[in-house]
């Protein structure tokens, strides 16, 4: 773990903003540029800065391999789960309009959830790639 005070202080200062920006990109994605993929990558960047500066052991304490596995598949399951929910609501696969009584609201909810799923999986995938470089355990 680097004991340089400057690096540690800067990282502490930077990481919250990186993650906040990721959340902004995630949830503002349907009004402006952005979306789940970009948000996931930015969020993972924040996390990777943390583990580079404060050590892999601390990062693992924060996000264990088991949790990572759940996030990795959870995002994809959320995505396809929304699709299946649309099937049960009487529409076609991923037809968000059926998710709420007002089709516009339905579209909104649907795209939010799907993009959240993308964001989670992309974040977990980036972190998993980083973990794979760090140790031999996938």
């Amino acid at each position: 773990m680097p004991s340089d005070v400057v690096i540690r202080t800067l990282a502490k200062l930077l990481i919250p903003f990186v993650m906040l920006f990721a959340l902004y990109v995630q949830f503002h994605g349907d009004f402006g540029p952005g979306g789940g993929f970009q948000a996931g990558v930015i969020f993972a960047a924040g996390f990777i800065i943390y583990s580079l500066v404060f050590g892999f052991k601390n990062a693992k304490r924060l996000l264990s391999s088991a949790l990572l596995r759940w996030l990795l598949s959870g995002g994809l399951l959320l995505y396809s789960g929304v699709g299946i929910a649309c099937l049960f609501a009487g529409g076609n696969y991923l037809d968000y309009s059926t998710l709420a009584s007002d089709p516009v609201v339905g579209q909104h909810i649907g795209i939010m959830l799907v993009e959240l799923g993308v964001g989670i999986t992309v974040f977990a995938a980036m972190a998993a790639i980083f973990y794979a470089f760090e140790s031999s355990d996938p």
Partner: protein, 493 residues
């Protein structure tokens, strides 16, 4: 309620199974998930096929409720239904086999990843076959390719890594070419839907952009298909992959690429344009003939049983492309038949080879002396599907070769006829070589071995048995292939 949604369920089942496999984490639980998913997929494919045959028209499904030329549309007709049946059928037979085989070849802590990758690969292959949107087809192509690189790299020998890497490089080049082709087509027509494209392309046809698009697509798909000059990745990829993966990919991946080829050359550009205005026919036919001969000769020279089978695949791909090149109804029928039949034979052969490697630990032919006495069931299955590959009457190989001969004679192409016969004879040489080593030579080592467990034997025997069953009971396959062929030819503008 469920019937109109069958096309999407077909793809979503393996897509859901993949993350569940990862969450399960335990090897056995992951295997059970994958097994259930692939059997369900197979059931859905059979159901879809029955529906398509009854409906007499393609089944359409628009994703997200967006109508066809704008949204992504799934479109199932007799051709895709047959391909879906092949892909899901092979995966349904291979999965029970994988329990013992994968435990033997892959470290336990990677099992959940292995089954997840297998399910993603299945999802991608089914998706390519079912979709009616060319960009969606590209996305699924990438899903299946990326997961198959991972699957191949899990092979027990370290050479699996280099072969997977080589496949990755060539496969990515192929995929990029396909994407460029798709981009150019989109530039000219402004649409990605296959039906819409087929309607709009004739207007845009004399443009150079379309020619370049066809060139990119042809080269890209040929790379995925492992047609003759682009075949270098296939031999090592199949030889060093885990046995299950060799059997799965040999039965499905090249078949789906062949389907894509058929869809693009005949469905999109129209048969008249692709084969008369462009010299595609005079390019395809020689390449196919060379592949048939060189693949078989290279197979004879191999000492590794899986490499031998891989080279034989290259030769069989030549047959399939030859049928496309003939562009007659009989030719396409023969190709469609061979898609189905070759999937059966080659998967059976790779499973039998997997049994041998499972027990002896080597794929070297010389070490297999007298193995027929130790493993009579496995070797009989091998011999049976091998004879089918040669084209002995009473097996599936005979049926498709018969149709190839008919198609060639129909057009009075005697060179083709002689190459078909000669290449089959070459096939007899390499199959006979294995049979001679296995049955006629004395056992050099006192292998204290018997057949592998029944979970591996039964799938091998089922596939080998189906080589005979569909060789005798041809009404289903031939009528399906013929229907598919008329479907393709009738698309012609």
């Amino acid at each position: 309620m469920i019937v109109p949604h069958l096309p999407i369920i077909q793809v979503v089942i393996p897509l859901l199974a993949a993350p569940i496999c990862i969450v399960m984490h335990r090897p056995l639980a992951a295997w059970i998930t994958a097994l259930i998913a692939s059997w369900l997929t197979f059931a859905v494919a059979v159901w879809l096929l029955i529906n398509v045959l009854n409906a007499d028209a393609p089944i359409l499904y628009s994703l997200g409720g967006w109508a066809a030329p704008w949204g992504i549309e799934y479109r199932v007709d007799t051709i895709n239904a047959l391909i879906l049946l092949i892909v899901s059928g092979v995966s349904a037979t291979v999965l029970p086999y994988s329990l013992a085989s994968v435990r033997h070849e892959i470290p336990l802590r990677q099992h959940h990843l292995f089954y997840a990758a297998l399910m993603l690969c299945l999802c991608g292959l089914l998706g390519i076959a079912i979709t009616g949107d060319i960009f969606n087809a590209f996305v699924f192509l990438e899903i299946s390719s990326l997961s198959s690189y991972a699957l191949i790299s899990m092979g027990a020998s370290r050479r699996a890594l280099t072969s997977a890497f080589r496949y990755l490089i060539l496969g990515t080049i192929g995929a990029t070419f396909i994407l460029l082709g798709i981009g150019l087509l989109y530039m000219v027509t402004g649409t990605l839907n296959m039906e819409d494209l087929a309607n709009r392309l004739p207007e845009a046809v004399p443009s150079r952009t379309v020619f370049v698009a066809i060139a990119f697509l042809t080269v890209g798909i040929s790379l995925k298909l492992a047609l003759f000059p682009f075949h270098v990745w296939l031999a090592n990829a199949y030889a060093y992959a885990p046995s299950v993966v060799s059997a799965f990919l040999s039965g499905t991946a090249t078949k789906v690429a062949a389907y894509l080829f058929l869809r693009f050359t005949f469905g999109l550009f129209g048969q008249v344009f692709s084969l008369s205005e462009l010299p595609l026919e005079s390019i395809l036919t020689p390449l196919a003939l060379i592949a048939m001969l060189l693949g078989a000769i290279a197979a004879i020279l191999q000492t590794n049983i899986k490499r031998m089978l891989a080279y034989s695949s290259i030769s069989q791909i030549g047959y399939i492309v030859l049928g496309f090149g003939m562009a007659s109804q009989t030719g396409i029928t023969a190709s469609m038949l061979h898609l189905f039949n070759h999937a059966l034979m080659k998967s059976a052969l790779f499973l039998a080879a997997g049994n041998i490697i499972f027990k002896t630990g080597t794929a070297n032919l010389d070490a297999l002396s007298g193995i027929g006495k130790r493993m009579p069931i496995t070797m009989s299955a091998f011999l049976l599907s091998g004879l089918s590959l040669v084209g002995i009457p009473g097996t599936v190989g005979f049926i498709s070769k018969w149709y190839f001969l008919l198609a060639a004679i129909e057009q009075a192409r005697w060179l083709m006829v002689s190459v078909i016969i000669f290449s089959s004879l070459l096939g007899a040489i390499y199959i006979w070589r294995v049979a001679e080593i296995a049955f006629l030579r004395p056992a050099i080592e006192p292998y204290s071995m018997k057949e592998p467990t029944s979970s591996m034997l039964i799938p091998t025997c089922v596939l080998a048995g189906s080589c005979v069953y569909f060789g005798l009971e041809t009404s289903l396959t031939v009528s399906l292939a013929r229907l598919a062929a008329t479907n393709v030819i009738s698309v012609e503008p």
